[in-house]
């Protein structure tokens, strides 16, 4: 995923913008009409996402193992894309996850949400629903109490199915 400008689909953007504008989920009117009433615009690249990631890692080496990111490869409803993030290694009193962030690279605000856990949680497994403005990489970072930073990343094709949605 490098060039994002050339493959933008109009409907992709419209529906995604409507989703971020907050109207789409309300089911009001055709997508085009919704899109005209939002200022939502995608990031032009992953620079802000990279900055957020670097800030989170704070200099620690980022490991691409131990964290799972589940999301559909095809997002046919950009207003509600289910995303699950979970640490796959055992959570123990000695090794537990204190924080997770989810980044949607090209959303107007790439930081989608943040989770904090405690030693009492005994687990690190969360699912939320995101609105995505267009096809993009989605990533998650997890901070382990021992200082390690774990990372997972998936690309999602946002392609609303149409037919008067």
């Amino acid at each position: 995923m490098t060039s994002f400008g050339s493959d933008m689909r109009r409907r992709d953007l419209l529906a995604g913008a409507a989703a971020l504008g907050g109207l789409a989920a309300a089911g009001l009117g055709p997508a085009a009409a919704q899109a005209q009433s939002t200022t939502a615009m995608p990031q032009i690249d992953s620079a802000e996402a990279d900055r957020l990631a670097a800030e989170f890692a704070a200099g620690a080496e980022v490991l691409s193992q131990g964290l799972a990111l589940d999301l559909p490869a095809l997002g046919d409803n950009p207003a509600a894309v289910p995303v699950r993030v979970h640490v796959t290694e055992p959570i123990t009193d000695a090794s537990w996850c204190s924080e997770i962030i989810v980044i949607a690279d090209l959303n107007p605000g790439p930081l989608a949400c943040r989770f904090r856990f405690t030693a009492a949680t005994g687990s690190a497994d969360v699912t939320v629903r995101l609105r995505l403005i267009r096809s993009m990489p989605v990533r998650a970072y997890a901070r382990m109490e021992d200082g390690r930073v774990l990372m997972a990343r998936r690309d999602i094709t946002v392609a609303p199915g149409g037919c008067g949605l």
């Binding site: 200022t39 943040r114 009492a120 497994d125 939320v128």
Partner: protein, 108 residues
């Protein structure tokens, strides 16, 4: 508040250490702040800003949603049931606490 949050919990009487799964969803407009109204004015942002889950005195989870979270925010999480207590979930937005839900968890 249109209605209380919807809660599902995989087991309210878990074995010690059992991983309990929780689903929670509340009604919230999640206005992104990017939308224009009919007169072309920006509709002010109005999103959920925080969610916490605790079991008795133990904090389990803090969630900080941003505007990318879908309308009627949904969260699913797990925790290890190490002691009995009241599972309390609290939702806040700019106005303060907007919803709360409690479930008693009895570890047996």
């Amino acid at each position: 508040m249109a209605r209380p949050p919807r809660i599902w919990i995989s087991n309210e009487t878990p074995a010690p250490g059992e991983i309990v799964r929780v689903r929670a969803q509340m009604v919230h407009v999640m206005e992104s702040g990017l939308r224009l109204d009919a007169s072309g004015q920006t509709v002010p942002q109005d999103i959920l800003t925080g969610f916490t889950a605790s079991l008795g005195d133990s904090l389990l989870l803090e969630w900080t949603p941003e505007m990318a979270i879908s309308q009627n925010p949904y969260i699913e999480f797990t925790f290890a049931a190490r002691h009995s207590g009241r599972l309390r979930m609290v939702w806040t937005d700019r106005r303060g606490v907007v919803a709360q839900a409690d479930r008693d968890v009895t570890v047996g």
